[in-house]
């Protein structure tokens, strides 16, 4: 049985006297004490580079680093530990794939992206298209903000090379049917990349069940450190990627004339990675794996949506969602409201949330995003709703 108070107690920042009422978890969650301890333990006790040296600290660091790889493999049911590639985050992971496909994508090839993509899952494909002469088409949304799967079927008939889609929209909070999306992509001969940045802390993710070629996520949205993330997916698809960066452990043999590359995962992990952060990520994985907060998060989300329904606001997107809701308020600018909430000690996000094309499609410049985590409490949702109501009244009164 999930105990919200016990979970919350694992986050020292939330217990600070001047702590914010933190509802900006879609951007970054807070860091758990176990994660902080693991990182400090490395720096204070056995800091050394991994994989290379033979001394005891290096052996201990390497073991801790590789334990994190095993933890990710077990958690997300990845087929082999070699298919877990550490990166600096989701963005780096997607760029790694986009660069890695440069020999496989040709002029006239088609890349499909969904209309709700974060810039990190759009711009790398635009760059790849620019470099190769490929074109990009957008999978549209239906009136509720969900992916239009009939339109997707039609686009698949054009034989795309790759389909890029988020597991959960960072703006709408909606959960996409990634199993279906990936199965259809594969049947059409396309590779699939799923941006899991918003999903891994909220949903049970099974990489093999999803059937994607590539899956990316970040540590800092799942109670772990910043500067670390993972690219995973199908080992055979990862094996086809051209290394994006050269140097360090990614080589097999190097002469002045030639280079041959190491096996996965090292082939795609050039240079010294964020060792402490990878070790910290391993702790975050344990924490999320043991988490059973689905019911609690659903209750909080329902409470938030019920409260919002009583306010003069519009919720973006209707459908199965995680505990993330974006709103617009007719007549009140989102940045004004965020300023008001910040003044009341409430942290939310206002702006385009790095989904400018989606906001353009919805005909708005920005929105206000409330993103909950399992450490949030019903009283915090109520406080946010009350402050929203007060803020809206003030801005309307002073219009």
């Amino acid at each position: 049985m999930f105990d919200p108070a016990a979970f919350r107690a694992q986050f020292p920042a939330l217990a600070a006297e001047d702590a914010l009422l933190y509802l900006d978890n879609g951007a970054s969650t807070q860091t758990a004490q176990a994660v902080l301890d693991a990182m400090a333990g490395y720096y204070q006790g056995y800091r050394a580079n991994v994989h290379r040296a033979g001394h005891p600290w290096a052996a201990r660091a390497t073991a801790a680093f590789e334990q994190s790889r095993d933890a990710v493999k077990d958690w997300l049911k990845v087929e082999r530990r070699e298919a877990v590639i550490f990166t600096s985050g989701t963005t780096a992971a997607i760029n790694l794939v986009a660069w890695g496909l440069i020999d496989q994508v040709r002029q006239g090839d088609l890349i499909l992206v969904s209309a709700m993509e974060h810039h990190a899952n759009l711009v790398p494909w635009q760059l790849l298209a620019r470099r190769t002469g490929a074109t990009i088409k957008v999978i549209p949304l239906d009136a509720n903000g969900r992916l239009d799967l009939a339109a997707y079927d039609q686009l698949l008939a054009l034989k795309p090379k790759l389909v890029a889609c988020c597991h959960v929209s960072n703006t709408l909070g909606l959960i996409n049917p990634v199993v279906e999306i990936c199965a259809k992509a594969r049947a059409a001969g396309a590779l699939s990349l799923i941006d899991g940045a918003q999903a891994v802390a909220h949903l049970e993710v099974d990489i093999q069940a999803i059937g994607c070629d590539f899956y990316a996520f970040s540590g800092h949205k799942m109670f772990g450190p910043t500067g670390v993330g993972v690219l995973t997916g199908r080992l055979s698809s990862l094996g086809e990627l051209l290394p994006f960066m050269g140097g360090g452990e990614m080589i097999d043999k190097v002469s002045f004339d030639a280079v041959s590359f190491n096996a996965l995962p090292h082939r795609l992990e050039a240079g010294t990675g964020p060792i402490a952060e990878v070790i910290g990520l391993g702790e975050a994985v344990k924490l999320v794996q043991a988490l059973d907060a689905g019911a609690h998060e659903r209750q909080l989300t329902e409470r938030l949506l019920a409260g919002l329904a009583k306010l003069p606001v519009q919720v973006l997107g209707q459908g199965e969602r995680i505990s993330l809701v974006s709103i617009t308020v007719p007549g009140v600018h989102h940045s004004d409201l965020a300023h008001y909430l910040a003044g009341k000690g409430i942290a939310v996000r206002a702006g385009h949330h790095c989904t400018q094309p989606l906001h353009g499609l919805l005909g708005i410049a920005g929105s206000l995003r409330i993103a909950l985590a399992p450490y949030n409490a019903a009283a915090e949702v109520d406080a946010c709703l009350a402050a929203l109501a007060d803020g809206i009244s003030l801005f309307k009164e002073m219009a």
Binding site: H333, S335, G343, G366, L394, M398
Partner: protein, 125 residues
Amino acid sequence: MSLFDDFAAEKHFEGRTRFLLGLARSLPRLDDKHPEDEVSGCEARTWLRVDVADGKLALRGDSEARIVKGLMALLFSLYQGQALADARHVDARAEFEQVGLEQFLSPSRANGLYAMLAKIHGELG
């Protein structure tokens, strides 16, 4: 008493916000918004037009966000109608600091304020 003094006299967040909203209301709407007048670096779309008539500054502006517009009105109070030679000696940053405007604003909103200031200074030469 300057508007900055009035702002400083409001000790609490709510009062300061209300004060800026009142200022925003006092600033006329800019109906002819030209792309070249748009100020980048603000969280909301913001336009600022600097004209000089008889050697004096004539400022007009607008923003989709009212806190930004209130800040604009506060900023204008330092420069509006000033002779160019005098306006060059105005130390707006010192005024912001003295009334604790930076603590009241988020970094991105403060950046927007500085972007407006930079635009005025750009026109002063």
